[in-house]
Symmetry: C2
Subunit: 277 residues, 2 copies
């Protein structure tokens, strides 16, 4: 393990250091992110460090760029299922959708900020694969066992504003599984499953800033979460539909129910009177 002058040591689990890497240039399609992040990091990384990489630069490197006038088409193409839509008094339509990665978010992750003028960005094709490739490449290049999280900015159902969350993960545990462990009173913690990958992405956002060009941060102090490259990815954070109590907006579910309720009466009446539907 390399020694580093940075503060924070994986030996003390009660201390975390988070910093943004400086010197990462504007990313263009085909850019070698491993080489660019490796050059920016230099010898500053150590075993157990977790790099949080903004999905935007992964998308750019992977060439996921479209002309801006295709934005609505792009959202439609990335959408698997419309969860809810709302039109504001000014006519702005918000579409909350499930995208092909299973994520529920506004605009299917299609991004029009911090992109070259006249363009929009799609999310990486497979952010878990991108994260694993980055972790693998950086481990080889720098000789340190790092984990990689690919982050995106997501809204929440019941809370205003956004937080950064993990949409890709390579070589890092996304959950800290405390189930089966005991609390301070010696009782089993049964339902607690902290999503540490989302918490790490949120911590990194505090140093990256939205308006600046600091797309990569390093989180040091949770080396216990770093592991083999074949750990489950961030896709495993996405709740499956069978367990999702909010898989459809309240208005939309009500409308579906209304139609079904009305139809059920017609059907019953049709049966009672013997006439066809």
């Amino acid at each position: 393990m390399r020694r580093s002058p940075r503060c924070g040591s994986s030996a003390d689990p009660t201390l975390l250091s988070v910093w943004a890497l400086k010197g990462i240039p504007e990313i263009v399609p085909g850019a070698d992110l491993v080489a660019l992040i490796g050059a920016a990091a230099g010898a500053s990384l150590a075993d157990g460090d977790i790099l949080v990489v903004t999905s935007k630069i992964v998308s750019k490197a992977e060439g996921r760029i479209l002309a801006a006038d295709d934005r609505e088409d792009a959202i439609t193409a990335e959408t698997v299922r419309v969860v809810a839509t709302r039109t504001s008094p000014t006519g702005h339509v918000t579409r909350i959708v499930e995208n092909r990665l299973g994520m529920v978010s506004a605009a299917a992750g299609v991004d029009a900020s911090n992109t070259p003028e006249g363009t929009v960005l799609l999310l990486p094709v497979d952010p878990d694969a991108s994260a694993r490739a980055l972790a693998s490449g950086l481990r080889s290049l720098l000789g340190v066992e790092v984990g990689v999280i690919v982050s995106d900015t997501l809204g929440r159902a019941w809370r205003d504003g956004q937080t950064d969350s993990a949409i890709g993960a390579g070589g890092v545990h996304v959950f800290e599984d405390l189930r089966g462990q005991t609390d301070a009173e010696g009782r089993t913690l049964v339902v607690t499953l902290p999503c540490v990958a989302d918490e790490i992405a949120s911590a990194a956002d505090l140093v990256k800033g939205k308006a600046s060009k600091l797309p990569v941060a390093v989180v040091r102090g949770r080396g216990d979460l770093v592991g083999p490259l074949d750990l489950p990815g961030a896709r495993s954070i996405v709740r499956d539909q069978a367990h999702d109590m909010f898989r459809r907006g309240a208005d939309e579910a009500f409308a579906d129910g209304f139609a079904a309720g009305a139809a059920s009466v017609h059907e019953r009446d049709a049966e009672a009177f013997g006439s066809g539907p």
Copy 2:
């Protein structure tokens, strides 16, 4: 401003340090949290530091303790509105409810882990007021301008696991308002409103741990977010119902719609045939 040997300086916005305070004893009803946290912090705090205090110890100090066999009654009492319920194959009932603080969460925040045997904890009566009192008391006691966030562990609609979020805030901005600022390409950032209070609570959870007794963490490096005690509290994070597209579970909204749809047909038929409903 006091100098501190801890690494991380508010002068460098790209570096964040997060550590847990050691030496906070088991909290009992009536405990003086300002004195206990102040003693644990000693001279280590500086202007701009943000303390993240687990709501559990605030509840304990405020005596929000009930006998465990009142748990279901306590959940009912704390509930303003049932958002969704689900019964697992084993018969365990999950109630997602809005509590009197406006928060949507499981079990209305009634907590049965890390509590004295045979007891459950209610959330603080007014976590924003608790946070402001702590910030005010610590500023006076230690002579440093700190902010305080009271945190709780919350589930999410579409993502498995939990993250720590801010349910109380005193002397710290809960949102970083970037609206009106420009992105790196010079275009206005219109919809971005990072909920930095939730991100700070999440960062703090990474050092506090669930099974250990480390209920207070310090976040250093975002002194720009610390301000007067009358800044809006964490209550302002809660989305108001008029804008909440997920204010009711999909199954519950569908059932409501079904009943309304069936009733509408009966009503229409009653009008058509001139008979009473």
